[in-house]
Amino acid sequence: MLRKLNWRCVLFIATAILGIIWAVLGFGTYGFWSEAEGPGAGFFPAIVGCALVFFSVVEFIKSIGKYEVKFDKEALFIVASVALILVLNFLVGLLLALLIYYVIWLKCVEKYPWKKVILITLFYGAIMYGIFSAWLQVPFPTGLIGLI
C-alpha cells in the first residue's frame, strides 16, 4: 500500500489538511453566520475549505498507484542559488547579493571565461541598477555592511 503512494498523493494529503484548517478556523474562530448580519468572516473560507477536503480526497484515491512523480536533482542548483542570495542579502544587501550571485553562477556553474563574465555582468547590472535603483528609486535593503 505505502509503496503505491506517490508525491501527488502526498500533495493531496497536504491540501486536505489545509482545507481542514481553513474549515475549522472558519466555522469556529472567525464566525460562520450571524442572525443579524448573515455570513461572517469565516463563511466563505469555511465552505471553500470543505470543498477542498472533499476534492482532495477524491483525487487522492484516484491518484494512488497511477502517477509517478520524480523531482530532478538539477533543481538543487536553484535551491542553492536562492539560499546563497538570501544569505548574501543579509550581509551585503540585495543588489550586491544579486550581483555576486550572478558572477558566481556564470563563473562556477557555466565556466565562462572571466572576460565574458565581467562583460555580461556589467551590462546586465547596469541595466538593472539604472532602471530600478537610479531611475525608479526603489529603496533596496542594504544589509549589515550598508553599501549601495
Binding site: 500533495l11 478556523l25 472567525y30 464566525g31 448573515g38 461572517g40 502517477y67 538539477e74 542548483f77 556564470l106
Partner: protein
C-alpha cells in the same frame, strides 16, 4: 452625435502640435520600458512617471499621461511573451499562449500579434467610450453587490473551461487560490483572519510577487535541467529573421476576429466599477476558448494566435473602458485609473458628472490624445520588436541567473519589502511541485484574483438584504447572469450523467 465628433475633432487639433506629439512620444517610450519591468506594471508605472508630467503645461501633461498609461499596457505583455514573467496580473493569460509561441521559435510573431490585438482592443474601447461612455458608465452603476456576485460566479465557473483533462485537479487548484486570497484582514467586517500570528500576513498576499513566483521562477527548474543536459543552448535555436515576424494573411484573419470580440466584451467589463483588466482578459480568453473550439491550429494555451489576441485585446479594451466611469462619474475602476485621477486633479481637472459640461476642451483633448497614444504606442513597440526578439537567443546559462535576479528585484519592488521576495520564492517552489504533480497553476492564480471580489460582494449582498437569499432573484441583471450560470453548471453535468447512463 455630430456635436460629439466636432468636439473630438477639436481635441485632435489640440493634440496635434509638435510639442504635444513629442511629449506623447517621450511618455510612450518611458511607459513602455517601465511597463515591461516585472513587478512595476501599469499601476506603479503610472504612479512613478506621473511627476514627470508636472514639467509641462496642463494639456501637454495630460496627453503625456495618456500615452504613459497606454504604453504601460503594451509593455506589460513583453516580459510575459519573451521570458514567461507576467509583468502584471492581466498578462497571465498572455503568457499562456505568447510564451508557447516563443518556445516554438516565433517570439517576434507573438509580439506582433500582441501589439496588433492591443491596438484593436484599445481602438474599439475608445470608440465605444466616445459615443456611449456616459450612458454605459451610468448603466455600470446598476451593478450592485448581488449583480457582481453572480457575475463573478460565472467567471469562476468558466475557469473550468481552461482546465484540461482532469477537472478535479483544477477545482483543487481553484480552492487553494481562493484560500490564499482569504489571508489577512477581512475587509467586510474588519476582522483579522488566517494570519497565524504573523503581522506580515495581516494585509494578505500581494498578487504580483505570487505570479512572478508561480510562473516566472517556476520555469527556472525546467531551464536548469535543459542547461545541465546541454540539450539546448537557448530558448530558440533557429535563427530569427525579421521577416518571420510579419504575419501571413491567414494569421491576420486568425488574430482579427478574436481581437474584435474581445475588444467589445473587454470594454464592457472595463466599464463595471471594480471589475478590472484582469477579469476582462481572463473572461474574454475563456469565451474565446468556447468560440473557437476546434477551429484553431493548436489548442488555446499551447501557442494559439486566437488566445493571445483575445487576452491582449481585452486587456487594452478594458483599460480604455475604465476611462468611462472615471471621466463621466469620477469613479476610478482600477488602481491605475485612481492614480490617473490623482494626476488629473493636480491640474485642477475634476473628473465627475460636471466634467463634460465645465471643461469640454480638456475632456475631449484627453480622449483625442488617447487615440493618438494608442497609435504611437503601437508604432514604438513595433519598432522595438527586432531588438527585443534577440533576447530569446541569449544562452540558457545566462538566462537562468538573469531571470532569477529579475524575479527577486521585481518581487521586492512591488511593496519595497522582503516579504514580496518570500511570497515569490514560496510561489516558485510550489509551482514546481504542482507542475511535477500535474496540478494546474493558472486556475489558482485566477481564483486568487477573482475570489476577493466574489466574497466581498456576496457578503455585502447578504448584509444589505439582512441575510435574505431572495436578493439574488429580485433583480433583472442578476437573473440573467443566474440563468447563464445555471446553464454553465447544469449542461456539462447533465451531459456527463447522460453519457454514464448510456454506457451502462
Amino acid at each position: 452625435m455630430m456635436e460629439t465628433l466636432q468636439l473630438l475633432g477639436q481635441g485632435f487639433v489640440v493634440a496635434f502640435s509638435l510639442q504635444n506629439l513629442g511629449a506623447a512620444l517621450f511618455g510612450g517610450i518611458l511607459g513602455l520600458i517601465v511597463g515591461a519591468m516585472p513587478g512595476i506594471g501599469s499601476l506603479a508605472g503610472c504612479a512613478l512617471l506621473l511627476p514627470l508630467t508636472f514639467h509641462f503645461n496642463p494639456t501637454t501633461a495630460i496627453i503625456m499621461l495618456g500615452s504613459i498609461y497606454y504604453a504601460n499596457m503594451f509593455g506589460g505583455a513583453f516580459s510575459a511573451i519573451l521570458i514567461n514573467i507576467p509583468g502584471d496580473a492581466p498578462a497571465i493569460m498572455t503568457a499562456l499562449d505568447g510564451f508557447s509561441m516563443t518556445k516554438k521559435g516565433q517570439p517576434g510573431k507573438a509580439l506582433f500579434i500582441s501589439n496588433y490585438a492591443s491596438f484593436i482592443g484599445g481602438f474599439i474601447g475608445m470608440v465605444i467610450l466616445v459615443f456611449l461612455g456616459p450612458a454605459l458608465a451610468s448603466f455600470g452603476l446598476n451593478f450592485g453587490p448581488s449583480e457582481m456576485t453572480v457575475l463573478m460566479l460565472v467567471a469562476m465557473t468558466s475557469i473550468s473551461w481552461l482546465v484540461g483533462e482532469n477537472p478535479i485537479s483544477g477545482i483543487v487548484a481553484t480552492c487553494l487560490g481562493i484560500m490564499i486570497s482569504t489571508l489577512g484582514i477581512d475587509i467586510v467586517s474588519g476582522q483579522i483572519r488566517y494570519n497565524f500570528g504573523s503581522i506580515w500576513l495581516l494585509g494578505g498576499i500581494n498578487f504580483v510577487p505570487l505570479v512572478i513566483g508561480f510562473i516566472g521562477m517556476t520555469q527556472l527548474f525546467d531551464l536548469v535541467v535543459q542547461d545541465r543536459a546541454k540539450e539546448k543552448i537557448s530558448y530558440v535555436d533557429v535563427k530569427i529573421r525579421f521577416r518571420d515576424t510579419l504575419l501571413t494573411k491567414d494569421e491576420y484573419k486568425r488574430a482579427t476576429r478574436p481581437s474584435i470580440t474581445a475588444g467589445l466584451l473587454g470594454t464592457f467589463v472595463g466599464f463595471l466599477p471594480g471589475a478590472g483588466a484582469t477579469a476582462a482578459s481572463f473572461l474574454c480568453y475563456a469565451v474565446e476558448k468556447k468560440l473557437s473550439n476546434g477551429k484553431t491550429l493548436v489548442p488555446l494555451g499551447q501557442g494559439a494566435i486566437e488566445g493571445l489576441a483575445a487576452s491582449e485585446s481585452a486587456n487594452n479594451a478594458a483599460a480604455a473602458g475604465a476611462f468611462g466611469p472615471l471621466l463621466a462619474l469620477g469613479i476610478p475602476g482600477s488602481g491605475t485609473t485612481a492614480v490617473l485621477l490623482g494626476g488629473l486633479m493636480m491640474w485642477g481637472l475634476n473628473p465627475g458628472p460636471m466634467l463634460f459640461s465645465t471643461n469640454p476642451d480638456f475632456a475631449w483633448g484627453l480622449i483625442a490624445s488617447l487615440f493618438i497614444s494608442n497609435i504611437l504606442s503601437l508604432a514604438i513597440s513595433l519598432g522595438c520588436i527586432p531588438w527585443l526578439q534577440k533576447i530569446v537567443r541569449v544562452p540558457i546559462g545566462v538566462m537562468i541567473p538573469s531571470i532569477l535576479v529579475i524575479c527577486f528585484i521585481g518581487a521586492y519592488s512591488t511593496s519595497n519589502s522582503m516579504f514580496g521576495v518570500v511570497v515569490m520564492l514560496v510561489g516558485g517552489f510550489l509551482g514546481y511541485i504542482f507542475g511535477k504533480c500535474s496540478l494546474p497553476t493558472a486556475p489558482l492564480l485566477l481564483a486568487f484574483v477573482l475570489s476577493s471580489t466574489l466574497e466581498t460582494n456576496l457578503r455585502r449582498a447578504f448584509l444589505t438584504s439582512n441575510g435574505n437569499l431572495a436578493v439574488f432573484l429580485q433583480r433583472p441583471i442578476t437573473d440573467v447572469f443566474l440563468v447563464i450560470f445555471l446553464i454553465m453548471v447544469l449542461v456539462p453535468a447533465g451531459r456527463a450523467i447522460y453519457n454514464k447512463v448510456k454506457k451502462n
